[in-house]
């Protein structure tokens, strides 16, 4: 498809005066730049969902409580000073009452730096103990079936008035976009960043990009948007998860979860406009031979903790503008079951990681594990609604005050789990 030389000279000269302007027909709108109201951008938020109802009681054992050991003769995590168990199998003490599962050791640094917070006895009002129902309600951010079909994160993105139009504003790592992100702002599910390339064939992608650069030259809004999108694409072409080098010394676990976190870290460092990322860790429904300090659940915890610790270290410079929330649909039964596992429970825990988290502390009011303190068939009570935590993050860390829309029919109570950036960091952390 090569024009003759004389034709070439002709239209090269014409082109110099009117590059593809006539591909912009007369009837197309001459739009002024949109004047959008600006909310200042807040932290990048990463929401990690532990699918299957993670056993918070073994993740953060209340080693200071006898009832814990009576209820779980086989599965309990030994006390920090228990001489009968190997040191590496004992709970890591946090505050004399609560401890960490030994496999959480990689996160001890973050805890001691005041950048890891725990909220105990946390959860939702729903008592169905059904994974499907509880997850749906939690991701929709509502108390019962009645309410918006969108997700709480989708509503956050829709109500935040920032001017972020990056195609990578919100991503869901995984096959499908999680319910929490459903809303009017388009979100992409991606297993890998290649989903953002124009084509799997890099040559074809590059050729179209070249053509698009010429097509979107106009000094108007559509041209602007086109050029911004091309900019993101060009950036992404340079990003290669396989070749990505985290901060020196950081090693992400070699699992799907680890790879997902690594890609998120890469996107954050590349400053492509990522505001919200969600990622799942699955397999936490440990009805059967759950294991204690070692075994099935310990393996899951190891992946979680190693991944989070790697993220924490890799993004050391970005921590001041990062908040990570770890949550699960509910907790598990206090007493172990006959199969050396645990059944569905009620109250659980949430973890938060970030530079402005009130870390190094366990938040929430602990109801206790004695029989009379339990609810239903023997479950931990909920004393902090999960929405209190998320609402506080939305307002104080994400600069979004539209809480009534994000969590309809609910009035959240802030509990000092995160700080605004201007709050002084308490001495000693």
């Amino acid at each position: 498809m090569r024009p003759t030389d004389s034709n070439r000279r002709t239209f090269l000269r014409a082109a110099a005066r009117a590059p593809l302007r006539l591909l912009w027909p007369a009837w197309m709108p001459r739009l002024a730049f949109a004047q959008a109201a600006e909310d200042p951008r807040g932290d990048t938020l990463i929401v990690i969902f532990l699918r299957g109802a993670a056993d918070a009681l073994n993740l953060i054992p209340s080693h200071g409580e006898d009832a814990y050991y009576r209820a779980r003769p086989t599965l309990s995590i030994p006390r920090p000073d228990d001489p009968r168990s190997r040191i590496t199998g004992r709970a890591i003490d946090l505050d004399g009452f609560f401890g960490l599962h030994p496999a959480m050791r990689p996160l001890l640094d973050a805890w001691q730096q005041g950048q890891l917070a725990i909220v105990q006895a946390c959860g939702a009002p729903d008592e169905s103990r059904s994974h499907f129902k509880a997850m749906e309600l939690m991701e929709r951010g509502i108390t019962s079936e009645v309410g918006p079909a969108s997700g709480w994160l989708g509503r956050h993105l829709a109500t935040h008035g920032g001017n972020n139009h990056s195609p990578l504003r919100a991503i869901g790592l995984g096959e499908t976009v999680p319910r929490s992100l459903y809303g009017s702002v388009p979100v992409t599910a991606l297993r890998q960043l290649t989903a953002f390339h124009l084509n799997d064939d890099p040559r074809a992608a590059r050729q179209l990009r070249g053509l698009l650069r010429t097509l979107y030259q106009e000094p108007n809004e559509p041209g602007e948007v086109g050029r911004e999108t091309l900019g993101v694409l060009e950036l992404l072409e340079k990003l290669d998860p396989a070749g990505y080098r985290p901060t020196s010394g950081v090693n992400y676990p070699d699992s799907e979860f680890g790879l997902g976190l690594k890609q998120i870290a890469m996107l954050i460092k590349a400053e492509v406009g990522l505001e919200v990322a969600t990622i799942d860790s699955s397999g936490w429904d440990t009805h059967f031979v759950q294991g204690g300090s070692s075994g099935l659940m310990a393996g899951l915890i190891h992946d979680l903790a190693a991944g989070l610790a790697a993220l924490h270290a890799d993004l050391a410079e970005q921590l001041g503008r990062l908040t990570v929330v770890v949550m699960s649909e509910f907790g598990r039964r206090v007493a172990e079951n006959a199969s050396l596992g645990t059944d569905h429970g009620h109250g659980g825990a949430m973890l938060l990681l970030g530079g402005n988290v009130a870390g190094g502390m366990v938040h929430g009011s602990w109801p206790g594990l004695q029989a009379r303190q339990l609810v239903g068939p023997g479950d931990l009570a909920v004393t902090t609604d999960y929405r209190d935590v998320l609402a506080e993050v939305c307002e104080l860390r994400l600069n979004n005050r539209a809480l009534a829309e994000i969590f309809p029919a609910y009035t959240p109570t802030f509990r000092g789990i995160v700080r605004t950036s201007s709050d002084p960091v308490p001495a000693g952390t």
Binding site: A15, L20, P29, S184, A204, V232
Partner: protein, 495 residues
């Protein structure tokens, strides 16, 4: 018409001048002062406008449809389309006949698998939009689907919406609004989606009552207040869905109904059980604010993003026609289309929403499609998941909501051009053969005519070819790349 080099440069110079002016409203106006230049560009502007009109009355005009319009005129074609039941769809129907589970009743659907049911609904919807000869009817089905938005993702909506699509939307899309409204209010899908099935005397739920007034009829400034919402919710108590025989059907439960007098929009509604809400529905269906609201939405759909600013008299006239005809949707539509879309020149631009954009690439290029997950996923990635909009207001209809999400449109353009879209197939060779000769300029002219309504002006076309030349694409790769470029271009995003 051959242009001398001087004409070309003059034209190019004029275009540059226009581009520099901020106050000029159209190239056509400026060129009117230059008769020779106008003759050069007049064809482009003129024929494209009719194409653009047809592009809004369909999901992307096929050559056959354009030929028919050229033969009988757009007005006559429009009348044919309005009498949609007389338009034969026998052959297109063969493509979705096997998905006939969409004609089952609610309890039969509930017994089938969720995936099977939702896929059948989505596939038939897309296949109809792509292949049906009743294009305006399908456009209006989408309009009412959005207006009475219901998401498949909530509760039992996954099978209830299939019945709603058939018995509420499709049955009344070009019928009478009052009947459409009554059908929607009693639709189990709607009762579940907006929580009215839980609305009862002891625990009133206002969700549906509010959206019924705010979104479905009067509009947010239509002259109702919070008390009206509460009173209407009281009228609607007991409007619920059967959970046993027969599952998924409407049921009025007198036990849950809040009897006693209500007062809605200044009218006293005496106790009358199920008939109370019916009386209010009649009131809403014939209310002047409803007429304004619907007229405004249709003017926005077909003419301009700014009905209040650009076409206030048209909205008024259309509203009057609606009221005078007692809610006849076709009467309303005729005013909007004949006095608006077909009459207004220059025609304001409309940005193509995701589903429309995707199908407007498939139809003119005669791309075959199975309406399946391949194309569904593209449309969802572009932001308009079929039957998946989570909020009752439905997907927005202004450029601002869509015009910034280009990346996946570009991805689609390249995937379609390279035949990498699962479930769809493009016969590029046949397209090139139809272009005749295969010379680059002719190919571009042909593709431009198919996709944008007219060949590109020579300057633009040659520029495009030059940009293609600057890529490292081999000769045999160029047609697909050119096609991708056209589909991804700014011009193709608009009608």
């Amino acid at each position: 018409m051959t242009l001398t080099r001087r004409d070309l440069l003059k034209l190019a110079g004029l275009v540059t001048a226009v581009a520099g002016l901020s106050g000029c409203s159209s190239l056509g106006e400026l060129l009117a002062a230059e008769p020779r230049a106008r003759a050069a560009s007049g064809e482009f502007v003129g024929s494209t406008e009719e194409y653009r009109r047809l592009a809004r009355l369909s999901y992307g005009p096929t050559p056959a449809e354009r030929a028919r319009v050229a033969e009988i005129g757009l007005g006559a074609w429009l009348e044919e389309q309005l009498a949609y039941q007389s338009v034969s769809d026998r052959r297109p129907q063969l493509r979705w006949r096997h998905l006939d589970i969409v004609s089952l009743e609610a309890n039969a659907l509930a017994a089938r698998g969720r995936r099977e049911v939702t896929q059948a609904l989505k596939r038939t919807t897309l296949l109809r939009r792509i292949y049906s000869h009743r294009q305006l009817y399908e456009v209006m089905v989408e309009f009412w689907t959005d207006h009475f938005n219901i998401s498949l993702d909530k509760g039992d909506g996954w099978y209830l919406k299939v019945v709603d699509d058939r018995e509420v939307i499709r049955k009344h899309a070009l019928g009478n609004f009052r009947e459409l409204l009554h059908a929607s209010a009693a639709s189990p899908a709607m009762l579940v989606y907006l929580d009215n099935q839980a609305n009862r005397r002891e625990a009133p739920n206002e969700n549906y009552a509010r959206e019924l007034m705010e979104l479905h009829t009067l509009g947010v400034h239509g002259g109702y207040d919070q008390r009206d919402v509460m009173e209407l919710a009281r009228c609607l108590t007991g409007w619920t869905v059967k959970k046993h025989f027969w599952l998924g059907e409407f049921r009025f439960d007198p036990e849950r109904h809040d009897s006693g007098e209500k007062r809605v929009l200044g009218r006293v509604i005496p106790a009358a059980g199920v008939h109370e809400a019916e009386e209010v529905l009649d009131l809403l269906a014939t209310h002047p604010s409803t007429a304004q609201h619907l007229a405004g939405k249709l003017v926005r759909r077909f003419l301009t993003d700014d009905p209040e600013g650009q076409a206030p008299e048209l909205v008024e006239r259309a509203a009057q026609a609606f009221l005078a005809s007692e809610g006849d949707i076709r009467a309303l539509l005729r005013v909007v289309l004949y006095d608006g879309l077909l009459a207004r020149s220059p025609l304001p631009a409309k940005f193509k929403r995701p589903a429309h954009f995707v199908i407007s690439a498939l139809r003119p290029l005669a791309a075959a499609s199975d309406g399946g997950e391949g194309v569904q996923e593209v449309i969802a990635q572009l932001g308009q998941p079929l039957f998946g909009w989570p909020t009752p207001d439905g997907p927005p209809d202004t450029a601002g909501a869509w015009s910034r999400a280009l990346l996946h449109r570009w991805r689609f353009a390249l995937a379609l051009a390279r035949n990498e879209l699962p479930g769809s197939e493009l016969d590029l060779d046949r397209l090139l053969a139809a272009a005749g000769g295969g010379r680059p300029a002719e190919v571009m002219d042909h593709l431009g005519t198919l996709l944008l309504g007219a060949p590109l002006p020579q300057v633009a076309r040659d520029d495009f070819l030059r940009a293609l030349e600057q890529t490292d694409a081999a000769a045999e790769e160029l047609p697909a790349l050119a096609l991708a470029g056209l589909i991804a271009s700014p011009a193709f995003q608009w009608t």
